[in-house]
Symmetry: C2
Subunit: 211 residues, 2 copies
DNA sequence: CGGATACCTGAATCACTATTCATGTTTTGT
DNA sequence: ACAAAACATGAATAGTGATTCAGGTATCCG
């Protein structure tokens, strides 16, 4: 029976296990991840794992939820100051790519979730889309972006971010210097694509443009 | 030691195993797929599997390559008659969604490939992008679409198709009637998004409205 | 028929690892 | 100091499932 830690020591231990599990899952995937290796990485014995977690799946789910929360927080922060929706998209994508560079594990873990934990997967995408759709709907209504369907657009934009991140961040890890961020020109091309999709239609005003 | 079948009987048996493996992988994923169940589904004994395949991974790779080829073939066929790039995109996406409806396994299998067989994954995306990029580059050069970066655009479009397919085809399977295709309005919204991203810039006519 | 070739069988082997639990160790409160 | 409470240990258990192999069966040919 697993239970929550009752003291600071316990909390630290639980935290170390979680950290180690993140690394392990990110490195070898859910199925090949072994509890022994996770606990070794955390510097504890196997049994300790079961003091704080029901099993492998529970850690997995907790990691998804945790990373998802952190990611959305990052993006919300990054967007906060943006003057308009297109600026928000730029800031948001930048933050997303940065987060992916920092935690490539989230991406890897989510891809696995298809079979490991469909619930975790739905939760992940669902939470992101929820806010995204609302923001796009508002911007669309206000004329800041084109009159597109916000739900479809939210998914499309998410798909773009995911695959560009996969190609230029995850497939890159050349083990060279510290973190390999996305190439600047790729970022600009991506934003160009997105801007074209979102920007309002050019006003068909024969003479005057409206504000 | 596995080897190729030498007679028609052998070829049929190998084919049945492959078919059964596709179903099994698509249903429970690579790791939980069991050779016994695959062979049972094919109506042969376990040993027969190893007559034609080195092991689990080899079937997996062969399935990826096979489905990838079929998918590209379908799309190529669908696009053939298109008068311009935007029409080609429409036909291509329709074909892609149809294929995904018919073989949801491809999607599921590719998502797993991250850890199971990175090579298979790279091959899959690489082959698709290769042709796509070339087509976009030509269209862009000819002014049929906007002057975008064809490589980034190819990946972005692929990402859109993948995630929209996931959301509205794979997450739908309500087990209702035959095949649940993508809702027509979602398809139109998707094409709208793509069209906005790709269409050439409107000429900056100072006085006249453009057609 | 005889025997060569291709195909097929499935119990036995082998390697792996998640989870349990009986037993220590450390910390905390008084 | 001393007993709870909390935390930690890791050998043993138990279940899994991929792969092998010693022996069949089907088919064809001269």
């Amino acid at each position: 029976m697993s239970s929550a830690p009752r003291t600071a020591r316990g909390r630290r231990t639980r935290e170390r296990i979680l950290e180690s599990a993140l690394k392990e899952f990110g490195k070898v995937g859910y199925h090949d991840a072994s509890i022994v290796r996770i606990t070794e990485g955390a510097g504890v014995a196997m049994g300790t794992f079961y003091l704080y977690f029901e099993g492998k799946l529970e850690v997995f789910n907790e990691l998804v939820e945790d990373l998802n929360r952190r990611m959305r927080h990052r993006m919300t922060q990054a967007i906060a100051e943006a003057p308009d929706r297109l600026a928000a998209e730029r800031a948001g994508f930048r933050a997303f790519f940065e987060f992916t560079t920092e935690y490539p594990q989230l991406y890897r873990i989510i891809r696995q979730a298809e079979f490991v934990s469909p619930d975790a997967m739905h939760l992940h995408y669902g939470r992101i889309v929820e806010g995204y759709r609302r923001a796009l709907a508002t911007a669309s209504h206000d004329g800041e972006i084109a009159p597109i369907d916000p739900e479809v657009a939210a998914w499309a934009l998410m798909g773009i971010g995911e695959i560009i991140g996969m190609r230029w961040i995850l497939w890159q890890e050349k083990g060279d210097d510290g973190a390999p961020p996305i190439p600047e020109d790729v970022f600009e091309h991506t934003m160009d694509f997105i801007t074209r999709a979102l920007r309002p239609d050019a006003p068909v005003a024969p003479v005057e443009t409206q504000e």
